[in-house]
Protein backbone atom coordinates (compact mmCIF):
# COMPACT_ATOMS: atom_id res chain seq x y z
CA UNK A 1 0.00 0.00 0.00
CA UNK A 2 1.21 3.49 -0.74
CA UNK A 3 0.05 6.73 0.79
CA UNK A 4 0.45 10.35 -0.16
CA UNK A 5 2.08 12.54 2.46
CA UNK A 6 3.13 16.16 2.63
CA UNK A 7 6.78 16.78 3.43
CA UNK A 8 5.54 19.13 6.11
CA UNK A 9 4.36 16.11 8.07
CA UNK A 10 7.66 14.23 8.10
CA UNK A 11 10.62 16.39 7.07
CA UNK A 12 12.87 19.16 8.31
CA UNK A 13 14.12 21.88 5.97
CA UNK A 14 16.32 24.97 5.92
CA UNK A 15 17.16 27.43 3.16
CA UNK A 16 19.98 29.90 2.69
CA UNK A 17 21.24 32.51 0.23
CA UNK A 18 24.46 33.02 -1.70
CA UNK A 19 24.17 35.95 -4.06
CA UNK A 20 21.38 35.12 -6.49
CA UNK A 21 21.55 31.42 -5.59
CA UNK A 22 19.44 29.84 -2.91
CA UNK A 23 19.93 26.44 -1.32
CA UNK A 24 17.10 24.41 0.13
CA UNK A 25 17.99 21.37 2.22
CA UNK A 26 15.30 18.86 3.11
CA UNK A 27 15.94 16.16 5.73
CA UNK A 28 14.33 12.73 6.14
CA UNK A 29 13.88 11.21 9.61
CA UNK A 30 14.78 7.60 8.69
CA UNK A 31 16.85 5.73 6.11
CA UNK A 32 13.73 4.15 4.59
CA UNK A 33 12.01 7.48 4.11
CA UNK A 34 15.23 8.98 2.75
CA UNK A 35 15.12 6.33 0.03
CA UNK A 36 11.63 7.58 -0.84
CA UNK A 37 12.87 11.19 -0.92
CA UNK A 38 15.62 10.13 -3.35
CA UNK A 39 13.00 8.62 -5.66
CA UNK A 40 10.31 11.29 -5.38
CA UNK A 41 12.11 14.59 -4.99
CA UNK A 42 13.68 15.26 -8.37
CA UNK A 43 15.28 18.55 -9.33
CA UNK A 44 12.59 18.96 -12.00
CA UNK A 45 9.79 18.65 -9.46
CA UNK A 46 11.37 21.14 -7.16
CA UNK A 47 11.94 23.59 -9.99
CA UNK A 48 8.28 23.38 -11.04
CA UNK A 49 7.14 23.74 -7.44
CA UNK A 50 9.09 26.98 -6.95
CA UNK A 51 7.50 28.46 -10.08
CA UNK A 52 8.35 32.03 -10.96
CA UNK A 53 10.79 32.42 -8.06
CA UNK A 54 13.46 30.37 -9.89
CA UNK A 55 14.63 31.62 -13.27
CA UNK A 56 17.64 29.33 -13.63
CA UNK A 57 18.42 25.64 -13.19
CA UNK A 58 17.99 23.50 -10.09
CA UNK A 59 20.77 21.10 -9.02
CA UNK A 60 20.24 18.26 -6.57
CA UNK A 61 22.92 16.90 -4.22
CA UNK A 62 22.63 13.85 -1.98
CA UNK A 63 23.86 14.10 1.61
CA UNK A 64 23.26 10.60 3.03
CA UNK A 65 25.17 11.19 6.29
CA UNK A 66 22.35 13.46 7.46
CA UNK A 67 19.66 11.90 5.19
CA UNK A 68 19.29 15.10 3.23
CA UNK A 69 18.82 16.35 -0.27
CA UNK A 70 20.32 19.74 -0.99
CA UNK A 71 18.76 21.67 -3.85
CA UNK A 72 20.64 24.59 -5.35
CA UNK A 73 18.35 27.06 -7.09
CA UNK A 74 20.02 29.32 -9.63
CA UNK A 75 18.81 32.85 -10.29
CA UNK A 76 16.34 32.40 -7.48
CA UNK A 77 16.61 35.54 -5.34
CA UNK A 78 15.59 38.36 -7.64
CA UNK A 79 19.24 39.21 -8.33
CA UNK A 80 20.40 38.79 -4.72
CA UNK A 81 19.35 40.15 -1.34
CA UNK A 82 20.82 43.64 -1.67
CA UNK A 83 19.01 44.36 -4.93
CA UNK A 84 15.87 42.25 -4.46
CA UNK A 85 12.44 43.87 -4.57
CA UNK A 86 10.81 40.99 -2.71
CA UNK A 87 9.62 41.01 0.91
CA UNK A 88 11.70 37.87 1.56
CA UNK A 89 14.97 38.97 -0.07
CA UNK A 90 17.04 36.18 1.50
CA UNK A 91 14.71 33.33 0.59
CA UNK A 92 14.42 32.37 4.25
CA UNK A 93 10.94 31.00 3.60
CA UNK A 94 12.04 28.67 0.78
CA UNK A 95 12.67 26.01 3.43
CA UNK A 96 8.98 26.08 4.29
CA UNK A 97 7.95 26.29 0.64
CA UNK A 98 9.52 22.92 -0.14
CA UNK A 99 7.56 21.38 2.76
CA UNK A 100 4.37 21.91 0.73
CA UNK A 101 5.43 19.17 -1.69
CA UNK A 102 3.57 15.87 -1.47
CA UNK A 103 5.12 12.49 -2.17
CA UNK A 104 3.96 8.88 -2.56
CA UNK A 105 5.48 6.52 -0.03
CA UNK A 106 4.89 2.90 0.94
CA UNK A 107 3.83 1.75 4.38
CA UNK A 108 7.27 0.18 4.81
CA UNK A 109 8.95 3.48 4.03
CA UNK A 110 6.81 5.21 6.63
CA UNK A 111 7.54 2.64 9.33
CA UNK A 112 8.65 4.22 12.61
CA UNK A 113 8.04 7.76 11.39
CA UNK A 114 5.98 10.14 13.46
CA UNK A 115 3.65 11.79 10.96
CA UNK A 116 2.10 15.21 11.36
CA UNK A 117 3.47 16.68 14.57
CA UNK A 118 1.99 20.12 15.07
CA UNK A 119 2.62 23.11 17.28
CA UNK A 120 0.00 23.17 20.06
CA UNK A 121 -3.05 25.21 19.04
Amino acid sequence: MSVRIALRDVAQARSGDKGDLANVAVFAPTDALYAAFLRELTAERVRAHFGRFVRGAVDRYEVPNVRALNFVLHQALDGGAARSLRSDPLGKSYGSLILRLEIEVSDEELAGVEVGRRAPR
Partner: protein
Protein backbone atom coordinates in the same frame (compact mmCIF):
# COMPACT_ATOMS: atom_id res chain seq x y z
CA UNK B 1 44.58 14.93 23.96
CA UNK B 2 45.13 18.64 23.43
CA UNK B 3 41.95 20.65 22.90
CA UNK B 4 40.82 24.23 22.38
CA UNK B 5 37.46 25.69 23.39
CA UNK B 6 36.01 28.35 21.13
CA UNK B 7 32.71 30.18 21.36
CA UNK B 8 30.59 32.04 18.84
CA UNK B 9 29.77 35.62 19.73
CA UNK B 10 27.78 37.01 16.82
CA UNK B 11 25.90 35.72 13.79
CA UNK B 12 25.24 38.92 11.91
CA UNK B 13 25.67 42.70 12.02
CA UNK B 14 23.01 43.82 14.49
CA UNK B 15 23.11 40.73 16.71
CA UNK B 16 22.71 41.13 20.49
CA UNK B 17 25.81 40.95 22.70
CA UNK B 18 23.98 38.80 25.26
CA UNK B 19 24.91 35.54 23.52
CA UNK B 20 28.59 36.46 23.57
CA UNK B 21 28.40 37.44 27.25
CA UNK B 22 26.88 34.07 28.14
CA UNK B 23 29.67 32.36 26.20
CA UNK B 24 32.31 34.44 28.02
CA UNK B 25 30.77 33.83 31.46
CA UNK B 26 29.76 30.21 31.24
CA UNK B 27 31.23 28.74 28.06
CA UNK B 28 34.65 27.95 29.49
CA UNK B 29 36.20 29.24 26.26
CA UNK B 30 39.66 30.54 25.35
CA UNK B 31 38.47 32.35 22.22
CA UNK B 32 35.28 33.98 20.96
CA UNK B 33 34.85 34.52 17.23
CA UNK B 34 32.40 36.99 15.74
CA UNK B 35 31.01 36.86 12.23
CA UNK B 36 29.56 40.27 11.45
CA UNK B 37 29.68 40.10 7.67
CA UNK B 38 27.19 38.83 5.13
CA UNK B 39 27.05 39.86 1.48
CA UNK B 40 24.26 42.26 2.39
CA UNK B 41 26.35 43.69 5.26
CA UNK B 42 29.19 44.65 2.95
CA UNK B 43 26.67 46.59 0.88
CA UNK B 44 25.41 48.38 4.00
CA UNK B 45 28.94 49.21 5.17
CA UNK B 46 29.82 50.48 1.74
CA UNK B 47 26.92 52.95 1.99
CA UNK B 48 28.29 54.11 5.36
CA UNK B 49 31.79 54.59 3.98
CA UNK B 50 30.36 56.45 0.99
CA UNK B 51 28.96 59.06 3.40
CA UNK B 52 31.94 59.09 5.78
CA UNK B 53 35.42 57.78 4.84
CA UNK B 54 36.11 57.01 8.53
CA UNK B 55 33.13 54.63 8.64
CA UNK B 56 32.70 51.24 6.93
CA UNK B 57 33.05 48.93 9.95
CA UNK B 58 30.26 47.48 12.08
CA UNK B 59 29.04 50.41 14.16
CA UNK B 60 28.19 48.22 17.12
CA UNK B 61 31.77 46.94 17.45
CA UNK B 62 32.74 49.49 20.16
CA UNK B 63 29.62 48.58 22.17
CA UNK B 64 30.44 44.85 21.89
CA UNK B 65 33.97 45.53 23.07
CA UNK B 66 32.85 47.73 25.95
CA UNK B 67 30.59 44.93 27.17
CA UNK B 68 33.04 42.07 26.63
CA UNK B 69 36.55 43.33 27.27
CA UNK B 70 36.33 43.46 31.09
CA UNK B 71 35.36 39.80 31.51
CA UNK B 72 37.48 38.60 28.59
CA UNK B 73 40.54 40.41 29.92
CA UNK B 74 39.99 38.90 33.35
CA UNK B 75 39.72 35.38 31.96
CA UNK B 76 42.27 35.65 29.17
CA UNK B 77 39.68 35.13 26.43
CA UNK B 78 40.91 36.37 23.05
CA UNK B 79 38.49 37.89 20.56
CA UNK B 80 38.50 37.50 16.76
CA UNK B 81 36.09 39.50 14.63
CA UNK B 82 35.58 40.42 11.00
CA UNK B 83 33.53 43.45 12.10
CA UNK B 84 36.27 45.59 10.53
CA UNK B 85 34.14 45.28 7.40
CA UNK B 86 35.61 47.42 4.66
CA UNK B 87 37.56 49.63 7.07
CA UNK B 88 39.38 47.40 9.60
CA UNK B 89 42.03 50.02 10.35
CA UNK B 90 39.39 52.49 11.59
CA UNK B 91 37.68 49.64 13.48
CA UNK B 92 40.91 48.75 15.28
CA UNK B 93 41.41 52.41 16.24
CA UNK B 94 37.88 52.44 17.68
CA UNK B 95 38.59 49.28 19.71
CA UNK B 96 41.82 50.76 21.08
CA UNK B 97 39.87 53.85 22.12
CA UNK B 98 37.43 51.65 24.05
CA UNK B 99 40.33 49.83 25.70
CA UNK B 100 41.84 53.15 26.84
CA UNK B 101 38.48 54.19 28.28
CA UNK B 102 38.47 50.93 30.25
CA UNK B 103 42.00 51.45 31.49
CA UNK B 104 43.45 48.61 29.40
CA UNK B 105 46.35 50.50 27.95
CA UNK B 106 48.33 47.36 27.15
CA UNK B 107 45.51 45.56 25.29
CA UNK B 108 47.04 44.26 22.07
CA UNK B 109 44.82 44.87 19.06
CA UNK B 110 45.73 43.33 15.72
CA UNK B 111 44.41 44.39 12.35
CA UNK B 112 44.42 42.40 9.12
CA UNK B 113 44.31 44.29 5.83
CA UNK B 114 44.65 43.32 2.18
CA UNK B 115 41.20 41.92 1.41
CA UNK B 116 39.88 45.21 0.03
CA UNK B 117 40.15 45.27 -3.77
CA UNK B 118 37.82 48.21 -4.35
CA UNK B 119 40.52 50.42 -5.81
CA UNK B 120 42.37 47.57 -7.53
CA UNK B 121 39.75 46.30 -9.98
CA UNK B 122 41.40 47.60 -13.14
CA UNK B 123 44.88 46.70 -11.91
CA UNK B 124 43.72 43.13 -11.20
CA UNK B 125 42.13 42.82 -14.62
CA UNK B 126 45.29 44.13 -16.28
CA UNK B 127 47.21 41.49 -14.34
CA UNK B 128 45.06 38.77 -15.89
CA UNK B 129 42.12 38.31 -13.48
CA UNK B 130 39.03 38.58 -15.69
CA UNK B 131 36.68 38.92 -12.70
CA UNK B 132 33.89 37.38 -14.78
CA UNK B 133 30.69 36.51 -12.92
CA UNK B 134 31.18 33.16 -11.18
CA UNK B 135 27.52 32.17 -11.58
CA UNK B 136 26.72 33.38 -15.09
CA UNK B 137 30.12 33.78 -16.80
CA UNK B 138 29.21 37.33 -17.80
CA UNK B 139 32.04 39.82 -18.36
CA UNK B 140 32.62 42.45 -15.68
CA UNK B 141 32.28 45.09 -18.39
CA UNK B 142 28.52 44.88 -17.88
CA UNK B 143 28.79 46.55 -14.46
CA UNK B 144 32.36 47.93 -14.28
CA UNK B 145 31.37 51.60 -14.19
CA UNK B 146 28.91 51.01 -11.33
CA UNK B 147 31.22 49.09 -8.92
CA UNK B 148 31.38 50.57 -5.44
CA UNK B 149 33.22 47.94 -3.42
CA UNK B 150 35.19 44.76 -3.82
CA UNK B 151 36.65 42.27 -1.36
CA UNK B 152 38.51 38.99 -1.54
CA UNK B 153 37.80 36.23 0.99
CA UNK B 154 40.95 35.58 3.03
CA UNK B 155 41.69 32.38 4.93
CA UNK B 156 42.92 31.79 8.48
CA UNK B 157 46.66 32.47 7.97
CA UNK B 158 46.75 36.20 8.79
CA UNK B 159 44.63 35.63 11.91
CA UNK B 160 46.96 32.82 13.02
CA UNK B 161 49.84 35.24 12.54
CA UNK B 162 48.08 37.88 14.65
CA UNK B 163 47.56 35.32 17.44
CA UNK B 164 51.23 34.33 17.28
CA UNK B 165 52.11 38.00 17.70
CA UNK B 166 50.18 37.98 20.96
CA UNK B 167 47.03 39.82 19.92
CA UNK B 168 44.22 39.95 22.48
CA UNK B 169 41.76 41.18 19.87
CA UNK B 170 42.02 40.52 16.13
CA UNK B 171 40.10 42.80 13.76
CA UNK B 172 39.71 41.76 10.14
CA UNK B 173 37.77 42.62 7.07
CA UNK B 174 36.55 39.88 4.76
CA UNK B 175 38.14 36.82 6.33
CA UNK B 176 35.88 33.90 5.43
CA UNK B 177 33.35 33.25 8.21
CA UNK B 178 34.55 29.76 9.06
CA UNK B 179 38.24 30.73 8.84
CA UNK B 180 37.81 33.05 11.83
CA UNK B 181 37.15 29.90 13.88
CA UNK B 182 39.81 27.79 12.15
CA UNK B 183 42.54 30.27 13.12
CA UNK B 184 42.59 29.58 16.89
CA UNK B 185 42.42 25.82 16.20
CA UNK B 186 45.50 26.04 14.00
CA UNK B 187 47.24 28.28 16.51
CA UNK B 188 46.51 26.15 19.57
CA UNK B 189 46.61 22.66 18.12
CA UNK B 190 49.55 23.15 15.79
CA UNK B 191 47.75 21.94 12.69
CA UNK B 192 49.71 22.27 9.45
CA UNK B 193 48.14 24.47 6.80
CA UNK B 194 48.08 21.48 4.44
CA UNK B 195 46.55 19.06 6.95
CA UNK B 196 43.39 18.98 4.87
CA UNK B 197 41.27 16.67 7.02
CA UNK B 198 41.85 18.66 10.20
CA UNK B 199 41.34 21.98 8.44
CA UNK B 200 38.12 20.63 6.96
CA UNK B 201 36.98 19.64 10.46
CA UNK B 202 37.74 23.17 11.57
CA UNK B 203 35.76 24.60 8.67
CA UNK B 204 32.78 22.40 9.51
CA UNK B 205 32.80 23.61 13.12
CA UNK B 206 33.30 27.20 12.01
CA UNK B 207 30.42 26.84 9.58
CA UNK B 208 28.22 25.42 12.35
CA UNK B 209 29.09 28.34 14.66
CA UNK B 210 29.14 31.39 12.42
CA UNK B 211 25.37 32.01 12.50
CA UNK B 212 25.01 32.13 16.27
CA UNK B 213 21.99 30.16 17.47
CA UNK B 214 21.05 28.68 14.09
CA UNK B 215 22.86 25.49 15.20
CA UNK B 216 21.61 25.63 18.78
CA UNK B 217 17.86 25.71 18.25
CA UNK B 218 17.18 28.94 16.37
CA UNK B 219 15.24 28.76 13.11
CA UNK B 220 14.70 25.07 13.82
CA UNK B 221 12.11 23.50 11.53
CA UNK B 222 11.39 20.47 13.72
CA UNK B 223 9.42 20.74 16.96
CA UNK B 224 10.45 24.36 17.46
CA UNK B 225 7.67 24.87 19.96
CA UNK B 226 9.48 22.59 22.42
CA UNK B 227 12.82 24.40 22.18
CA UNK B 228 13.18 26.29 25.46
CA UNK B 229 13.94 29.95 26.10
CA UNK B 230 14.96 31.23 22.68
CA UNK B 231 14.86 34.73 24.13
CA UNK B 232 18.19 33.77 25.67
CA UNK B 233 19.40 31.20 23.16
CA UNK B 234 22.83 29.80 23.99
CA UNK B 235 25.38 30.53 21.29
CA UNK B 236 27.51 27.63 20.10
CA UNK B 237 30.64 26.55 21.93
CA UNK B 238 32.99 23.94 20.51
CA UNK B 239 35.71 21.86 22.00
CA UNK B 240 38.03 20.95 19.15
CA UNK B 241 40.48 18.13 19.75
CA UNK B 242 43.91 17.87 18.18
CA UNK B 243 42.76 14.94 16.00
CA UNK B 244 39.98 16.95 14.35
CA UNK B 245 37.05 15.48 16.26
CA UNK B 246 34.97 17.94 18.24
CA UNK B 247 32.08 18.50 20.58
CA UNK B 248 29.51 21.19 19.90
CA UNK B 249 27.48 22.54 22.82
CA UNK B 250 26.26 25.79 24.39
CA UNK B 251 26.79 27.53 27.74
CA UNK B 252 24.93 26.30 30.81
CA UNK B 253 21.77 28.16 31.85
CA UNK B 254 20.92 29.29 28.34
CA UNK B 255 18.00 28.48 26.12
CA UNK B 256 18.00 26.58 22.85
CA UNK B 257 18.85 22.98 22.00
CA UNK B 258 21.92 21.24 20.59
CA UNK B 259 21.04 17.91 18.98
CA UNK B 260 21.58 15.90 15.80
CA UNK B 261 18.40 17.49 14.45
CA UNK B 262 19.24 21.13 15.20
CA UNK B 263 22.86 20.83 14.07
CA UNK B 264 22.17 19.01 10.79
CA UNK B 265 19.98 21.87 9.56
CA UNK B 266 22.83 24.33 9.99
CA UNK B 267 25.32 21.93 8.37
CA UNK B 268 23.69 22.58 5.00
CA UNK B 269 22.79 26.24 5.47
CA UNK B 270 24.03 28.30 2.52
CA UNK B 271 25.82 25.24 1.12
CA UNK B 272 26.00 24.53 -2.60
CA UNK B 273 27.80 21.24 -3.44
CA UNK B 274 28.14 19.47 -0.07
CA UNK B 275 31.01 17.29 -1.40
CA UNK B 276 33.04 20.40 -2.15
CA UNK B 277 32.44 23.19 0.34
CA UNK B 278 34.92 25.81 -0.82
CA UNK B 279 36.81 27.79 1.80
CA UNK B 280 40.10 29.68 1.30
CA UNK B 281 41.88 27.17 3.59
CA UNK B 282 40.52 23.84 2.35
CA UNK B 283 37.81 22.10 0.31
CA UNK B 284 35.67 20.30 2.88
CA UNK B 285 33.52 17.27 2.08
CA UNK B 286 30.34 17.75 4.11
CA UNK B 287 29.09 14.29 3.13
CA UNK B 288 31.79 12.83 5.41
CA UNK B 289 30.60 14.65 8.54
CA UNK B 290 29.36 12.31 11.27
CA UNK B 291 27.05 13.89 13.84
CA UNK B 292 26.14 12.02 17.02
CA UNK B 293 24.09 12.98 20.05
CA UNK B 294 26.74 12.51 22.78
CA UNK B 295 24.73 13.77 25.76
CA UNK B 296 21.96 16.34 26.31
CA UNK B 297 22.90 19.50 24.38
CA UNK B 298 26.20 18.00 23.22
CA UNK B 299 26.79 16.75 19.67
CA UNK B 300 29.99 15.02 18.64
CA UNK B 301 31.39 15.74 15.18
CA UNK B 302 33.87 13.38 13.56
CA UNK B 303 34.98 11.78 10.30
CA UNK B 304 35.46 15.02 8.37
CA UNK B 305 37.56 14.74 5.23
CA UNK B 306 39.06 17.55 3.20
CA UNK B 307 41.01 18.14 0.01
CA UNK B 308 43.63 20.68 -1.01
CA UNK B 309 42.50 24.28 -0.80
CA UNK B 310 41.19 25.97 -3.99
CA UNK B 311 43.73 27.57 -6.32
CA UNK B 312 41.72 30.79 -6.41
CA UNK B 313 40.18 33.02 -3.79
CA UNK B 314 36.57 34.04 -4.00
CA UNK B 315 35.92 37.74 -4.45
CA UNK B 316 32.70 39.68 -4.45
CA UNK B 317 32.13 43.05 -6.00
CA UNK B 318 29.15 45.29 -5.29
CA UNK B 319 27.62 47.49 -7.99
CA UNK B 320 24.89 50.10 -7.95
CA UNK B 321 21.74 48.75 -9.53
CA UNK B 322 19.16 51.52 -9.29
CA UNK B 323 16.72 52.44 -6.56
CA UNK B 324 13.64 50.78 -5.13
CA UNK B 325 10.42 52.50 -4.20
CA UNK B 326 7.77 50.53 -2.32
CA UNK B 327 4.02 50.91 -1.84
CA UNK B 328 2.25 49.02 0.95
CA UNK B 329 -1.50 49.18 1.61
CA UNK B 330 -3.40 46.90 3.97
CA UNK B 331 -6.96 45.76 3.15
CA UNK B 332 -9.38 44.16 5.59
CA UNK B 333 -12.07 41.50 5.21
CA UNK B 334 -14.37 41.09 3.36
CA UNK B 335 -12.87 40.48 -0.09
CA UNK B 336 -9.42 41.65 0.98
CA UNK B 337 -7.74 39.73 -1.85
CA UNK B 338 -10.04 41.19 -4.51
CA UNK B 339 -9.57 44.71 -3.14
CA UNK B 340 -5.80 44.37 -3.15
CA UNK B 341 -5.84 43.08 -6.72
CA UNK B 342 -8.09 45.90 -7.90
CA UNK B 343 -5.85 48.39 -6.15
CA UNK B 344 -2.81 46.94 -7.94
CA UNK B 345 -4.58 47.48 -11.29
CA UNK B 346 -5.41 51.07 -10.37
CA UNK B 347 -1.81 51.72 -9.37
CA UNK B 348 -0.54 50.30 -12.66
CA UNK B 349 -2.69 52.86 -14.53
CA UNK B 350 -1.58 55.67 -12.23
CA UNK B 351 2.07 54.75 -12.87
CA UNK B 352 1.48 54.79 -16.60
CA UNK B 353 -0.11 58.25 -16.49
CA UNK B 354 2.60 59.57 -14.16
CA UNK B 355 5.38 59.08 -16.67
CA UNK B 356 7.37 57.05 -14.15
CA UNK B 357 9.45 54.35 -15.81
CA UNK B 358 9.91 51.33 -13.55
CA UNK B 359 12.63 48.99 -14.82
CA UNK B 360 10.94 46.09 -13.07
CA UNK B 361 8.09 45.61 -10.60
CA UNK B 362 7.29 42.96 -7.99
CA UNK B 363 3.68 42.78 -6.78
CA UNK B 364 2.93 40.70 -3.68
CA UNK B 365 -0.17 40.07 -1.61
CA UNK B 366 1.32 39.66 1.85
CA UNK B 367 -0.80 37.05 3.59
CA UNK B 368 -1.42 35.23 0.31
CA UNK B 369 1.60 34.76 -1.92
CA UNK B 370 4.65 36.73 -0.80
CA UNK B 371 6.59 33.80 0.62
CA UNK B 372 5.34 30.80 -1.37
CA UNK B 373 4.20 32.34 -4.65
CA UNK B 374 2.09 30.18 -6.90
CA UNK B 375 2.62 27.06 -4.77
CA UNK B 376 0.38 28.47 -2.04
CA UNK B 377 -3.41 28.17 -2.40
CA UNK B 378 -5.25 31.49 -2.28
CA UNK B 379 -7.27 31.50 0.96
CA UNK B 380 -11.00 31.86 0.45
CA UNK B 381 -11.62 35.12 2.31
CA UNK B 382 -8.76 36.03 4.64
CA UNK B 383 -9.09 38.56 7.46
CA UNK B 384 -6.56 40.90 5.92
CA UNK B 385 -4.08 41.25 3.08
CA UNK B 386 -1.28 43.74 2.53
CA UNK B 387 -0.73 44.80 -1.06
CA UNK B 388 3.00 45.41 -1.53
CA UNK B 389 4.38 46.74 -4.79
CA UNK B 390 8.09 47.36 -5.07
CA UNK B 391 9.57 48.84 -8.24
CA UNK B 392 13.12 49.49 -9.41
CA UNK B 393 14.02 52.81 -11.04
CA UNK B 394 17.13 54.30 -12.60
CA UNK B 395 16.92 57.39 -10.41
CA UNK B 396 16.39 57.99 -6.70
CA UNK B 397 13.91 60.78 -7.50
CA UNK B 398 11.60 58.36 -9.32
CA UNK B 399 11.87 55.80 -6.52
CA UNK B 400 10.83 58.46 -4.00
CA UNK B 401 7.96 59.67 -6.15
CA UNK B 402 6.57 56.19 -6.81
CA UNK B 403 4.88 55.55 -3.43
CA UNK B 404 3.42 59.06 -3.41
CA UNK B 405 1.32 58.42 -6.49
CA UNK B 406 -0.64 55.78 -4.56
CA UNK B 407 -1.57 57.90 -1.53
CA UNK B 408 -4.92 59.11 -3.00
CA UNK B 409 -6.11 55.48 -2.81
CA UNK B 410 -6.45 56.03 0.94
CA UNK B 411 -9.64 57.97 0.11
CA UNK B 412 -10.36 57.15 -3.51
CA UNK B 413 -9.73 53.40 -3.67
CA UNK B 414 -11.43 50.20 -2.55
CA UNK B 415 -12.81 50.31 1.01
CA UNK B 416 -11.50 49.35 4.44
CA UNK B 417 -7.85 50.18 4.45
CA UNK B 418 -5.77 49.15 7.44
CA UNK B 419 -2.25 50.33 8.03
CA UNK B 420 -2.47 53.40 5.82
CA UNK B 421 -0.59 54.28 2.66
CA UNK B 422 2.21 56.47 4.05
CA UNK B 423 4.99 56.59 1.48
CA UNK B 424 8.31 55.05 2.50
CA UNK B 425 11.75 56.28 1.51
CA UNK B 426 13.72 55.09 -1.52
CA UNK B 427 16.37 52.37 -1.09
CA UNK B 428 19.59 52.16 -3.10
CA UNK B 429 19.96 48.72 -4.66
CA UNK B 430 23.29 46.96 -4.85
CA UNK B 431 24.03 44.01 -7.07
CA UNK B 432 26.55 41.47 -5.79
CA UNK B 433 29.02 40.11 -8.36
CA UNK B 434 30.75 36.89 -7.27
CA UNK B 435 34.08 36.12 -8.90
CA UNK B 436 37.46 34.41 -8.53
CA UNK B 437 40.96 35.82 -8.08
CA UNK B 438 44.37 34.13 -8.22
CA UNK B 439 45.91 34.02 -4.74
CA UNK B 440 49.09 35.57 -6.12
CA UNK B 441 47.25 38.83 -6.75
CA UNK B 442 45.91 39.11 -3.20
CA UNK B 443 47.96 37.26 -0.61
CA UNK B 444 51.24 39.20 -1.02
CA UNK B 445 49.32 42.35 -0.06
CA UNK B 446 47.83 40.92 3.14
CA UNK B 447 49.39 42.56 6.19
CA UNK B 448 49.04 42.00 9.91
CA UNK B 449 49.99 44.57 12.50
CA UNK B 450 49.58 44.60 16.28
CA UNK B 451 49.47 47.70 18.41
CA UNK B 452 48.74 48.24 22.08
CA UNK B 453 45.85 50.50 23.04
CA UNK B 454 48.37 53.11 24.11
CA UNK B 455 51.20 52.98 21.63
CA UNK B 456 54.45 52.15 23.35
Amino acid sequence: MQTVRIGAGQGFYGDSVDGALDVARRGGVQYICFDALAELTLAILQKDRFRDPAAGFARDLPAFMRALLPICRERGIRLITNAGGINPVAAAAAVRAVARELGMDDLRVAVVVGDDITSRVDELRAAGAALANLDTGESLDAVRSRIVFGVAYLGCAPVVQALSLGADVVITGRVADASLFVAPMVHELGWALDDWDRLAAGVVLGHLMECSAQSTGGNFSGDWWNVPDLDRAGYPVCEMRQDGTALLTKPAETGGRVSFDTVKEQLLYEVLDPRAYLNPDVVADFTTVQLRDASPDVVEISGVRGRARPESLKAILGYLDGYAGTIAIGYSWPDAVQKARRSAELIARMVERSGLQPLETVTELVGVDSTHGSAAPVPDDPNEVVLRISARFATEAEAKRFPRIATPLGLNGPPFIGGGVAPQGARALLGVWPSLLPRSLVEPGVEVSVEEAVAV
